[in-house]
Symmetry: C2
Subunit: 250 residues, 2 copies
Amino acid sequence: MTDARPTLPAWLAAGRPEAEIRGLMAAGGHCHGARLGENMAVTSNPDDDNAQAGPIATRRRGAELETAILDAAWDQLIADGYEHFTIDAIAARAKTSKPVLYRRWKTREDLLRATVRHRGAADPPVLPDTGSLRGDLLALLATANSGRNPLVALLSSMVGSYYNRSGPTPAELRFAFLSQRGSSVQEVIDRAVERGEVDPARLTPRIIDLPFALFRHELMMTLKPVPDHVLRQIVDDIFLPLVTARPPAG
Amino acid sequence: MTDARPTLPAWLAAGRPEAEIRGLMAAGGHCHGARLGENMAVTSNPDDDNAQAGPIATRRRGAELETAILDAAWDQLIADGYEHFTIDAIAARAKTSKPVLYRRWKTREDLLRATVRHRGAADPPVLPDTGSLRGDLLALLATANSGRNPLVALLSSMVGSYYNRSGPTPAELRFAFLSQRGSSVQEVIDRAVERGEVDPARLTPRIIDLPFALFRHELMMTLKPVPDHVLRQIVDDIFLPLVTARPPAG
DNA sequence: ACTTTAAGAAACTGCCTTGTATCTTGACAT
DNA sequence: ATGTCAAGATACAAGGCAGTTTCTTAAAGT
């Protein structure tokens, strides 16, 4: 096994049109990174323009180049996963060369962080106005859902090497751990139902999973142990009000 | 920059006592992996047992060896992050050698998946019984919180290279993206309050974040777009009942 | 026109890692 | 005791990648 491209789900790659086709770059290609054996630099060679749309050499500088690189880096991260987030690959994708990157960022990890920050700064959100809270919220969620969620894209590309195609399963990550503990919550809730503590009519699978869903979310967001007061908020402010028996709303 | 050990938060490393100190392995060390230049194999050299507790060579086989390797692999993943999840490092940690691993798993990624599966199968949960749903739930959460959560440990070690010490921030991952969108939800809710749709008394920061928290959780768990009916469940079954004005519970 | 700055191409060092091959030796069965 | 099989040690080939250096050349300022 030498190279097995991860190739994340296509929907993740959406939201960035392969950087921008840069200014005057001609159609033909001039793709480097794919070793073009000899020095084909434009050393005062007038043949260039008769060879069917010879690439008119242009050269980006400063901020323009920098955002192009950061866009390319993000593309690379999403397209091939963190394992292929290499300086060479990024330089090739940005159609520039390694020293250009090293002049700006000392290490690969610096570039990674800059890439994430750059991407986070983009995409100003749009505010829906449907006239109802429900409609507004669903619209917001739908927008976040439509491919370009950078947070999850980042996570996915990091975890990519685990769940690659042809691997055992994608959802295994969740399932291998959760299957047995799911029954713990179920058991605890069943006992509460017997005691009359909760209204069985309000119990859906999603609500039963709610406490641990919020717990996992908190843990994944902070990567630190969850403080006790947060656990109490989850239970007291969110879960218990939802499942506790009470008179029907007016 | 040559080597910069990630070293995840200590609380993650808990829950596995450095594999097991294997059977008859003597205390002294015999640590390999740290290149011991010469061939110190036990080639009928009677000096072994007078040299202060010379390691009595033992040799694990079959299933025993296999679980030892998988434990070591998990330790390695947690201790040094996925970037250092190398066959060499794992073999060294398991006090065996590379061919032994390659006889069992064809590639490094096979071993990764086997490791995660192995770890997922361990740790049967304990059922608390405090007499109340609230107490039981808090106990369950506290257990999950006490260090040994393999799901988050896995995620952390994967994302490790991003949030290394001396990096810009650990919470930046969440913050860079969320800061601006957080205000979108706030805005949408503010308008709903003005319309009298929601009870402002029920709004806490955590409840305001709830819809997107659940959305992100779903996305991170499935690594797929969230189906519409799930979005509706989040809004209709969980969020709206919590914030909609209603008569106080009986 | 001339100078300065940085982009871009290429080669190179050095390290690390994957994956394999070889050989010795311990564990176990008969 | 003896044979078989796998553990364990080591060496090795091949390739990938980080980071650097050198040099050429385009772009921008004066």
